[in-house]
Symmetry: C2
Subunit: 243 residues, 2 copies
DNA sequence: AGTCAATAGATTTTCGAAAATCTGTTGATT
DNA sequence: AATCAACAGATTTTCGAAAATCTATTGACT
């Protein structure tokens, strides 16, 4: 089963490898919300010892994707409607600032990157061509890259990092929603509008479009979260991933 | 020398203990910016093994206080004028949002807490009564608590956490400034104004006072940072904490 | 039956040493 | 002298096992 070598080519240490793989698994909900992360299971899954695993999990705790209860171990962070709304509202505000600065400061290089990012995104299909009902992983990457490109000229490493963290946390909710309700709307048009407004340096419109973009996702996710409350989460409870 | 027991009463694990102690040491610049953090030295200093230390440092890296170069070890994050300005500007924007929400939502309980926090702060002297030229640690605690109290009613755990991280990063620059130039201005009055505006629910004035409050600190710190460039940092270089 | 202490098994936390990697030095070569 | 490979010591990274802690169960007692 764990045919994948523990240390991928780009990661120089087992800790870095485990960190990146676990982060992706949590964001994609291959590790489900609130699931206990026992070391024995993780050791088999990722093919590394407890030291790299503990280090990776400590870092993910700081990123908000994992929670540690002292002497009782780690689990994937819980999801909730309250957390979703908090997250998305905060994300809107943070991205608004970042967009404002980015549109003020962005030069030709930024414009070129943004156009390129949009082009790559538009050439990906949202649904996985092989197994339907699943999201295309390449699409996810390009989608993340597009949103990152929008704010990349804001001139604040600090703000960019914060935005990235919030985006990743939000992605986990999107994954969850897709698992229960199938993929969200296809929104190539939305991204095109967003890009146009940004390139036109229309701050107010860009910020507003972004707010709506996030808001629509939030509503969709919130709905499926409510719907799956008794189904998936109940099932998970009985499978005793939970206490 | 390490008479202090490794595991303090409130921390249940050695990792938590090391994490909290190292974080405080970095913020107070008892561990200097860019200083290499060798495990042998840390083991002696904190009286724990490498496992808890590595876990603590991984977490601090996510918090921005420490940096890891793969296979070359950890060091305290570098400081720079650019990072200071970025940090403070971002902090102003984040706190502005948090203040706005807090003033909109804060109830009687919040008002009471804020009054209490101000009172405790006003009863502390900023300078350490024993050894002059040093900041009073109790004052620092109450100062942090006061600013936290201001935004505590904002209703967003996410935003509160982000604000806390930025505040801690900023505190490190303040410590650095104090070490080279002595304590900053005594600003009881500023905090009183801030509290009054908040309690009056005057959002614009509170946000503006906060902006000025942070701005003044930034200027002071930036000045002493420029001044100490050749002195302290040069000395540190020769002491070869650096490459 | 219900409560509680004792115990055994499961799990996390921590350590010490082995393995891997880096850094500076020596000495050979051009 | 400059370049470079090989080596040795320093340091980080990782593992496996020991220690500490938690959890569930049993059995004694009220």
């Amino acid at each position: 089963m764990p045919a994948m070598p523990a240390k991928r080519s780009t990661d120089q240490t087992l800790t870095a490898s485990a960190l990146n793989r676990i982060r992706l698994d949590i964001i994609a909900c291959r590790l489900m919300p609130n699931e206990r992360l026992r070391f024995e299971a993780l050791r088999k899954r990722y093919g590394v010892g407890v030291s790299p695993l503990r280090e990776a999990l400590m870092r993910l705790e700081a990123e908000g994707l994992v929670q540690l209860e002292q002497n009782k171990g780690f689990r994937v962070s819980e999801v909730s409607r309250e957390n979703l709304l908090d997250l998305m509202q905060t994300r809107i505000e943070i991205e608004s600032i970042a967009l404002r600065w980015s549109l003020e400061k962005g030069g030709v290089e930024w414009e070129a990157n943004l156009l390129g990012a949009f082009h790559r995104l538009s050439r990906q299909t949202k649904l996985d061509p092989n197994k339907h009902e699943t999201i295309n992983e390449a699409w996810s990457r390009e989608h993340a890259a597009f949103h990152a490109a929008l704010v990349s000229a804001c001139g604040s490493e600090t703000l960019v990092l914060i935005r990235q963290r919030l985006f990743e946390q939000a992605e986990r909710y999107v994954s969850l929603s897709i698992m229960s309700n199938g993929p969200l709307r296809d929104d190539v048009g939305e991204h095109k509008q967003l890009m146009r407004a940004a390139l036109n340096r229309d701050v107010d419109r860009t910020v507003e479009l972004n707010r709506l973009h996030i808001g629509r996702t939030t509503d969709k996710v919130a709905a499926s979260l409510a719907a799956s409350r008794s189904a998936d989460i109940g099932a998970a409870l009985k499978r005793k991933s939970f206490k």
